[in-house]
Symmetry: D2
Subunit: 393 residues, 4 copies
């Protein structure tokens, strides 16, 4: 008997478009999952490029107007992998059309938009999920298990830095990520968003924040041709309208302390997504640049035998890892997307959809709550003092 | 106009079968390559399992007798991903049938078989390649570039350890890798083979060797059901007929010194494939457990500013890396197979095939020369003294 | 001809007393320095213990009342290695008696006291130095040289964490470091003080701060017998009157951004004094737990050859290192005190004392400015908003 | 009542002379030990330099002829810190004069000399100790405790590399370490000696070896002025008469496998003394460049929570560490000499001397057995095959 399937349409053909396409391609080859995704349609702004992309990655059809995606009867799931400024309209339209919605992070930029989106998916009764893909790094899913099992005790410190360096050079040209209308914000919405979600995932809700931000290089060469994070310069210059770096301190509802730092001006840090959690019974450390490893300090180890343990989360006993290769045969960045899509399929497969279906992935409420924290950071910066984080129900 | 294609048949559906299938699935999605592989046929011993595998990975057809693969007119390339004991017959049959041959390592076990295989592919004039996949780890391909460019100077030391731990537990049951008839040897053929090839790739030919080997656990529970490197025990015990560990020292033709150590009895080492090269102008270090990093010490750095540099080989300027994700978005084990298949396709695309088509991959002569080194290691162990390595032309 | 000497009196016989004694013992054995210190007198509260200490470490005499130290004619230098609450009175008395003053950090707790102390040493015209000993870790002195030489360019980020774990266990008993009257504050004055000085040393003045602090464990077993950082519990409990953790964000006068985090509740972190500096031309990373290493990322390295370099600052060309052992023969914590005393002796040896004599060590103005930053952190916490840092001239 | 003391005479004023002097200076300040060493006499070849050295380090007297040391009545202990070629005559003379003997490694060069020396100290009934100082690195003493307690199980692999780089540059001039008459051998006697002792200390006796050696740079600039490991070139050249690198494989009596590699031609490796031990219950890793850390993999850790643990051996519970500073306040190279002298004093303090008095330090039998292993390595090289190691009783 053939496996149950769902038809997926993906909007977005750039960096995220590739990462999502790869995930749909692979998920049922490495995971036993029902339903299995059928790569039904890909959507991009430029018809020719999108046709080419469809052919390359094996999408059955393509569209150059995303509205078509929502109106097509043969689509069950809409996957939104576009710049954040487009998420709101797409997600609401998809939900209204009864499609399950899988949306890239950040969910959106404003609290109002976030609430609207959440209301829409709830009203539609569809599965809704936000792709905070780091949740499904095996080492991080392991951290979640350990915290949930009480192995770490009460959390006291969450300390996160997300460092990149691609804006260090003032000659690096403009692209959409540096424009407020398309990207919403810079390092805050792009990088801190990941760590705000991680903090909520592993520690709990954030009550108050105080932050600072800066655009170190205010003007850059105009955009020429770009691809992914690289680009060549065009003529003239353009004003950068987002932050290069945003830092903030946080107080969690459970009494833990948080510090967050995101920057694109840290030479040598390519995708240095690192966090450390200090608890009453031990500590955990993760650094994406060594993504297969979770460091664990356990206060219960015998005296004289204590130390940070490098757990290489590549064994069959670790989350997701057993579906891939033997121990020590390390995974990479793209595997997180496969795991996310696996969770998406499982959520859709459950009889009673709504939210992320009990998976460890984030749903739209999580996405909205992340927006609320980032929003509070902006408020704290505007007013030079601590700001309370709005609570999304 | 459609891209040129070649029809591939893959023999093997286990660990390597999955890794190769994944590579064919992905290569043309991330690399612009001609010809592109068509996943024509998969071959496994058990028809049902193979049918299932074909469906899962998208192979167009399947066979349960590998001879059929060789006789099928619609196959251009035969990819042999079986235990080493089967390589000889398969490769020769494929070559005789005029197929290009892509063969897993080790090429085979005996010098006679290796010479026969090399003669067969040469006579057939087909492309022949051995999948020493570590050559195409971006960090290692970078090392090769640096050495070739003279950045390191004269090589003096090559020091390699390939450590695993899956045989530490005496209760771990038998599988084919522990039987001499199927696997040829244990750690020597499986693990040292990789480093012998790496040494030849980066340093040059090996003239003489002296070694030692041991089977620490002589008898193990009989095999029950196995999958990849894991298995459950059946009833009774069986004698292990291969080595758990093999070490040897080597003298290179160019005067460099080598040391090699392979073991499956090193607790905590999952796939610790590490080597260090010390040269007249600097040093290089690689460890597969951090496969995205090449360490480089450069004697030409200014005094007081010298040290081992951690080059994360994930930038556009690094080999293969630019086809994947932005810098710092790390790759994993399976990407090496994609790069290998990319090199295979390029070699096939050249007008005058024969050998590995000028790529950095190993051809059958390389595979045979590796067998010659491993063979000399065995001789040296038998005789308790240094043994000369036979030279394959 | 005999070398010039100065007579030193040290107040303090605990952790810091040992560290300073060891430094006086060793400085002239490993460094050619004039004047050389004569270990004239040691001062501690308990006569018997102090006599014992004097004998053990080779101090010529001892006192149990520090006022005697100041009135003794045979003392040239007073070294204050007591809890911070005693620094003010001791330093002013010593200065008034015309002694050079070497004071442990933090200089003192309040702005008023700091100003008084600075005025006293200035008026006395004596050499004054605060023992921010991390400045003279070879790897850090190297960092200073590199920044001063323009190798890093404009500083954009300074990110510091000083993590310890000795208060994680609620059963750890009280000691003077947990009492506000003796210690001034907890992690802020003890740990952040080091990083505030480091930030000023390497980056520049701090203009504004905003912080948060917390005492996670409000009450602890009463003090029994203690030694260094360890202690046994007595009867009953006592209220902890200092912070367990203090975090703050900072804006530097030159536009750089800073983040500081100090805690004694980070399991596994023993003396994790780590900072990272991101600049326009590169980055530097230091972690005391690997104190012989400075990590350097240099944007000027050739494309494809960039990465963090591990400079082991143990070579003759590195600051202080050449006076000790051959390269790679690593130094430890206590060597920083020897270097500090070496700088003290050099400063005293100069014809025109006043301040730290042009050395890289901190003088009382630096010490006072550090107090001003910590003070502003406290203000910002009290008021829940950014606070300006007072400027000491 | 005053502590018991012994009068020490030290022969040697260079690198080792400094390291030993520092140890005598410090041992009784940080350790409660009886007897305490009195720094009675220092001996060096050049009277003026030795007088200067005596004054600097606080030796009460000096000699320029070592025979005087042995005939002086006021000397209880002779510490031999000269090049190895002088050890034999000095140790025998000291023993005959009834002095306890503390000798730098290697004990000597030939089996005959080693046997003579061992016979001499045994006949004299004095304490005899060889300064294999790495035994008393806290992390290594901890490793010894763990192995002795059965925490690791049966040893299967000992893998050691001792890498330095000071001979990489062909312009580096001659010094005594490159002359066979003074140094006995090069990397083998200097560096492998340490690891042979370590192997015996942690694993057990070695039965058989097979090795290789090479002098990569046969001729060097004549010696000019030298100090420690650095030197300036004089006129002309001189032939190097020792090996730059020596590697060997080993079979232990208990069935374990060993590999040893020493070289002075490994760019970037300053004092890279690293070993790894794989056992039936776990693994240990040590690297001197991070000398405060012992890595431990424990097979008994729960599934999914296994990994290499970084034990920072700086806590009170760790060997020697509690006598120094609080946890995380790292120790350096020179502390190993203090620990060695502490063990020496304890051995002398025991009522029944002879051998190393039950301490974990090596005695002359250990030193002689190490010579036997190095000697067998040389034999194996001469004959191109495995050589048996002579057994010293």
């Amino acid at each position: 008997m053939a496996a149950k399937t769902v038809n997926v349409a993906l909007i977005g053909t750039k960096f995220m478009g590739k990462a999502h396409s790869n995930a749909y391609l692979k998920v049922a080859k490495f995971f036993d999952v029902e339903p299995q995704p059928v790569m039904k349609a890909i959507c991009g702004r430029h018809a020719d490029e999108t046709a080419e992309f469809a052919k390359r990655f094996g999408w059955e059809s393509y569209e150059s107007d995303w509205h078509n995606i929502c109106s097509r009867k043969d689509i069950d799931v809409v996957d939104i992998a576009t710049p954040g400024g487009l998420h709101h309209d797409m997600a609401i339209a998809a939900a209204k059309a009864g499609k399950h919605v899988f949306c890239e992070k950040p969910l959106t930029f404003s609290m109002k938009d976030a609430r609207d989106m959440l209301a829409a998916v709830r009203q539609a009764g569809v599965v809704h999920m936000v792709n905070f893909n780091y949740r499904v790094v095996p080492a991080i899913a392991l951290a979640k298990q350990m915290i949930a099992a009480g192995e770490l005790g009460e959390v006291r410190h969450f300390r996160a830095t997300y460092l990149q360096d691609w804006l260090t050079d003032p000659k690096f040209p403009m692209n959409w990520r540096l424009r407020k209308d398309a990207a919403g914000s810079g390092s805050n919405g792009d990088l801190n968003a990941h760590h705000v979600d991680m903090a909520r995932f592993l520690v709990g809700e954030i009550d108050e924040v105080v932050g600072m931000k800066k655009t170190f290089i205010a003007e850059r060469p105009a955009e020429g041709r770009s691809a992914g994070l690289t680009a060549t310069a065009g003529e003239g210059t353009e004003k950068v309208t987002v932050d290069d770096a945003t830092l903030f301190l946080a107080k969690f509802a459970n009494g833990a302390f948080g510090s967050f730092e995101a920057t694109r001006m840290a030479p040598g840090r390519k995708n240095y997504n690192r966090f450390e959690i200090n608890c009453s019974k031990g500590s955990l450390v993760f650094n994406f640049e060594e993504m297969n490893v979770l460091q664990h300090y356990n206060c219960a180890d015998p005296p004289g035998r204590q130390g940070f343990k490098q757990i290489m989360a590549t064994e069959g006993v670790h989350p997701y890892a057993g579906n891939w290769w033997p121990p020590g045969h390390v995974l990479g960045y793209e595997h997180t997307f496969v795991h996310a899509v696996y969770e998406l399929m499982k959520a859709i497969g459950k009889s009673a959809p709504g939210s992320a279906g009990g998976s460890i992935m984030a749903d739209f409420r999580d996405g909205a709550q992340c927006v609320a924290v980032l929003d509070a950071v902006e408020h704290s910066i505007d007013e030079g003092k601590w700001a309370r984080v709005e609570k999304i129900n």
